[in-house]
């Protein structure tokens, strides 16, 4: 029987980047910084025949989440696949750096990154790569003081350098619909052949990159339905929880040991892969 209750949920996936950012805040506390009317757009796209967007696909809002000060950075997957360019990257980086300064001055400021991206914006090449490196440095700086929460709801997912940035976050939230991975399916198929990865096989893609598998592997702290109330509740809970005892990316020995269990010369089934990865340890 189909559970029709999903019809009563307010979808998070269907919200724009701006609506997603605003939905996280306590009512009436959200304030957008460098909004579209400020016209901080990419100087590189127009000369390559791509129409720029007035906010470069990056929305920054400050306010209160569950009564605690937070900055939310939302990458809008609708514009250029959420790709990170010089400007959108600089906006995200500056928001994180200002949050570091707030914390250093004794004002706790957490950060939430709503990520829908294929990674670097190819039209901006090295500038996008540099931006992602800076974002990663800024996440590392901020997570010493306050939690950085990465949310990938779908449908774009989180790929490329930004998947590494998400891996540095204190906590990760995903839906079943979202995907998380370094290389996307089409990139793997193109580079390694269809025998390695059939990018038209959607069941395979979600079995490997999907939120459920990533949660089972222990890479995700909260797996939520495509429901705005659930996303908000998960983010609030994680902000209230504060910093983890140890960040996931600091558990180097544990991750090395797990990686050693996996022989890359064999073709792994997603379920078997997950069982081997998590064997004998809590996810």
């Amino acid at each position: 029987m189909t559970d029709w209750r999903f019809l009563q949920r307010k979808s998070f996936i269907e919200l724009s980047g701006r609506e997603r950012a605003q939905a996280l805040f306590d009512a009436g506390t959200a304030r957008e910084l460098l909004g579209p009317h400020d016209r901080i757009e990419s100087p590189w796209l127009e000369r390559q025949g791509v129409t720029p967007q007035a906010d470069d696909g990056c929305v920054i809002c400050k306010g209160l989440i569950g009564g605690e000060a937070a900055v939310v950075v939302a990458i809008d997957g609708a514009f250029q696949g959420g790709s990170i360019g010089e400007v959108s990257g600089a906006k995200m980086c500056a928001a994180l750096d200002l949050a570091v300064r707030d914390n250093q001055r004794g004002n706790k400021m957490s950060a939430v990154l709503l990520i829908e991206t294929g990674g670097v914006r190819l039209q901006e090449a090295n500038l996008g790569l540099a931006a992602i490196a800076e974002i990663q440095a800024s996440i590392l700086a901020l997570r010493r003081y306050a939690p950085v929460i990465a949310v990938t709801a779908g449908t774009v997912g989180c790929f490329g350098g930004m998947s590494l940035a998400a891996g540095l976050a204190s906590y990760m939230v995903m839906t079943r619909e979202a995907r998380l991975g370094m290389n996307g399916p089409e990139v793997i198929e193109q580079e390694a052949g269809v025998d390695e990865f059939d990018a038209s096989d959607r069941a395979l893609i979600w079995a490997i990159h999907g939120g459920e598998q990533r949660y089972r592997m222990g890479l995700v702290d909260a797996l939520v339905d495509d429901d705005t109330a659930q996303v908000v509740s998960a983010v609030r809970t994680l902000i209230a929880k504060g910093l983890p005892a140890m960040h996931r990316s600091q558990q180097v020995e544990m991750l090395r040991e797990r990686t050693r269990r996996l022989d890359p010369s064999t073709q792994w089934e997603p379920a078997e892969f997950c069982a081997t990865w998590t064997r004998g340890e809590k996810a």
Binding site: H37, D76, A78
Partner: protein, 98 residues
């Protein structure tokens, strides 16, 4: 390449209207609407699909036959159909009145 089109509509009413709607995704557009600071309405369109100036003019003429505020409208277009453009303009007006 990107085509930039500019249009003006004279004798408009002063306004404080301000809105932003839409996204520059395939087949869609974003509309920024704000006061022009003059007695004219000014429109600037940047579109990734060139050669449709007369269609844009028709859509805008129809819009400004019913909307008389002295706004500056900026449109960033990624290949929206005329129907989508007309709806986004209406949506911007509605958002500016909330």
């Amino acid at each position: 390449m990107i085509e930039t089109l500019e249009y003006e509509y004279p004798d408009r009413q002063a306004t404080t209207a301000r809105a932003h709607v839409g996204a520059v995704g395939s087949g869609d557009l974003e509309v920024l609407l704000e006061p022009s600071g003059t007695n004219r309405a000014q429109v600037r369109i940047r579109t990734s699909v060139s050669g449709f100036a007369s269609t844009w003019k028709t859509v805008l003429d129809r819009f400004f036959s019913r909307y008389d505020e002295a706004v500056r409208i900026e449109i960033n277009d990624a290949g929206a159909t005329p129907g989508t453009v007309a709806l986004r303009l209406e949506q911007a007006v509605e958002a500016s009145r909330r």
